[in-house]
């Protein structure tokens, strides 16, 4: 139905050509590819168990045996960073699904039913938007008690608003279209109209929007982890690892900096790829 849902062959070719022409987008794609591969093959890539303590090799600098050095328990930091990629991807996936679903439901209902429903839902959305989301996520994470699942829930609770706005806009647009009008005049139920006609139109736009925001999700998660409101030790979550190694900065620089570089590279990958996707999809921005 939508252009994106059934792309024609030359569309794909055009996209591919654009992708080839933009070195930054390629770098992004490669970074994400590496991230996915590392997460998938973590047990193969990681030289040792990320939880295994060995006090005889505490606080070792990076070496051939320990690429990223070791921490205060003698754990291999490289293995921990490798396993951390799984956690990062897990966070992205779950947060995207939850906030995408919540945002879509809110936006669709607001747009489709209009009137008072719209007013109330949009004011709630405004309320969430009118507030620094990290601070709000901190509040939820602290209230739920710091842990990985609670952090995921907290981030989801503050990131659904842009999707709600987007879904509402798309719904309003779809509502005016002929085939929706036609379906309604033929007596189709609300659920049927939404499910069969409106939802498919909004989903593709939402998915693009979700991919664009994946970098932000990692950053928020890492921020919460860094503040101690996210995953708890000994979980090898990147932000928590930076926080854990922070007091060692002066003498064991590798402890906070190397896990931090994993965050930076992953986010960079998502952002470069996101930029590329935006350029490909939105010819207006292409210059």
């Amino acid at each position: 139905m939508s252009v994106l849902a059934t792309p024609r062959y030359d569309e794909v070719r055009r996209a591919y050509r654009l992708w080839r022409r933009s070195p930054l987008t390629m770098v992004g794609t490669v970074l994400i590819g590496v991230l996915l591969l590392v997460a998938l093959l973590a047990p193969v890539v990681a030289p040792s168990d990320p939880y295994e303590q060995d006090f005889s090799v505490r606080l070792q600098p990076p070496s051939r045996a320990h690429l990223f050095g070791t921490d205060q328990f003698g754990r291999d930091l490289f293995s921990r960073v490798v396993y951390g990629s799984r956690i990062a991807l897990q966070i992205i996936l779950i947060v995207s699904v939850i906030s995408g679903v919540v945002g879509t439901v809110v936006g669709l209902s607001a747009g489709y039913f209009g009137g008072r429903t719209d007013e109330v839902l949009m004011r709630v959305t405004d309320m969430f938007l009118a507030f620094p989301s990290l601070v709000l996520a901190m509040a939820f994470a602290a209230a739920l008690g710091p842990s990985l699942p609670n952090m995921i829930l907290a981030i989801s609770l503050v990131t659904w608003t842009p999707y709600a706005r987007l879904a509402r806009g798309e719904t309003l647009r779809a509502k005016t279209m002929d085939f929706v009008e036609a379906a309604r005049s033929m007596g189709a139920s609300d659920v049927r109209i939404i499910g069969r006609h409106i939802l498919p139109m909004t989903v593709s736009v939402l998915i693009v929007q979700l991919t664009l925001r994946m970098g932000t999700i990692i950053l928020t998660a890492a921020g919460l982890g860094f503040l101690g409101l996210g995953a708890q030790p000994p979980t090898p979550e990147w932000g928590a690892m930076v926080s854990d190694g922070r007091s060692y900065l002066m003498d064991q620089w590798w402890m906070p900096t190397l896990p931090g570089s994993a965050i930076a590279l992953a986010v960079l990958g998502f952002n470069l790829m996101g930029d590329g996707i935006r350029d490909i999809l939105d010819p207006r921005l292409r210059r």
Partner: protein, 336 residues
């Protein structure tokens, strides 16, 4: 809609937002299974003392009564007493907020000073090395976690090279000037304490840069794309055709119009700055409101958390309002 109606509407929304924030923080603070009295008294206190203090502070009352009491207090400017510092939260905020103001304003100043020229140069020299450089700088800027940038800079510029001072607002060897405004730069100027001023400025550079990096990137990007838009307009071509010098065309004609979206973006990034300040203040041991709130969350000092969050909500809303009004004044054509 005229300006007055618009402002009235926005103020109503603001009150709603603030009330919503109050409700959320209150619920959030009170579902936490943390006993504020225990937080005050510590682990050693005998049970009788705990019970007595709980009654004294009204924590034994039903939740809705506590909420009403809190709202009533907040309206009168009484935000309760911090469990950790034992002082009125309002006093704490007054003490911590100026440090955050100083930091965020330095950051935004730095971001504007770096971002606008960068965006302009990028646009004018499109697809040349300067443009690519600026774009890489931008994309890296929005990708790096604030706390990580902070740690890396601290590691090199402070620990290794010693070029810039480390955490805190002022050197420990320098006695701070008497506090009049709470803004260290201003206080040093008033006291004509040049040592303190120099030390305070030096201490500001790194955190302001770290905090302002994302904002710089965003501002540069926006300026670039709106500059490109404007440079393609007819009147610029006309100006050029008239034989005006290129520099004049860009500064007089193009930049003026291109800056309108930039102003909006500056308003938008301000929210990001408040967020970033939470992390930056933690890294640089900056005694600001962000750190106050973070410590509040970690110790579950909820009067502090509620008061601090409420304050940020109000500041954030007011800033957004000012930005929107500025935008309206700058460009009367926009629909209010």
């Amino acid at each position: 809609m005229n300006l007055a109606t618009y402002v009235a509407r926005r103020l109503t929304l603001m009150v709603l937002v603030v009330f919503g924030v109050l409700v959320i923080t209150f619920i959030v603070s009170h579902v936490v299974p943390a006993d504020p009295v225990t937080a005050i008294l510590g682990g050693n206190a005998p049970q009788e003392k705990v019970d007595a203090l709980r009654r004294e502070l009204g924590f034994d009352k039903p939740l809705h009564l506590q909420f009403v009491a809190y709202i009533w207090g907040a309206v009168r400017g009484d935000l309760g007493r911090s469990l950790r510092t034992g002082r009125p939260v309002w006093d704490d905020i007054q003490q911590y907020f100026p440090a955050t103001v100083e930091l965020t304003f330095s950051a935004i100043t730095l971001a504007i000073l770096l971002g606008v020229p960068m965006g302009v140069i990028s646009a004018v020299r499109r697809n040349e090395p300067a443009d690519h450089g600026a774009r890489v700088f931008s994309i890296v800027g929005v990708s790096m976690p604030v706390f990580w940038t902070g740690l890396i800079l601290m590691l090199f510029l402070y620990h290794r090279l010693g070029w810039l001072p480390g955490p805190g607002r002022i050197d420990f060897a320098v006695l701070p000037p008497p506090s009049r405004t709470g803004l260290l730069l201003l206080d040093s100027l008033i006291a004509r304490n040049w040592d303190a001023l120099g030390s305070a400025v030096a201490h500001l550079i790194m955190p302001a840069f770290v905090l302002g990096y994302v904002a710089t990137a965003t501002i540069a990007r926006t300026t670039r794309s709106s500059m490109l838009d404007v440079l393609g307009q007819d009147y610029i071509r006309t100006a050029r055709a008239k034989g005006l010098r290129e520099r004049l065309v860009i500064v007089r004609h193009a930049l003026r119009n291109a800056l309108i979206p930039t102003v909006t973006v500056i308003g938008l990034v301000f929210g990001g700055l408040l967020e970033g300040s939470v992390l930056t203040e933690t890294i640089f041991a900056w005694p600001g409101l962000g750190r106050y709130i973070t410590t509040g969350y970690l110790t579950l000092d909820y009067p502090a958390v509620m008061g601090g969050t409420l304050y940020i909500a109000v500041v954030f809303s007011v800033v957004n309002l000012i930005v929107d009004l500025t935008y309206a004044v700058l460009d009367p054509r926009i629909r209010l």
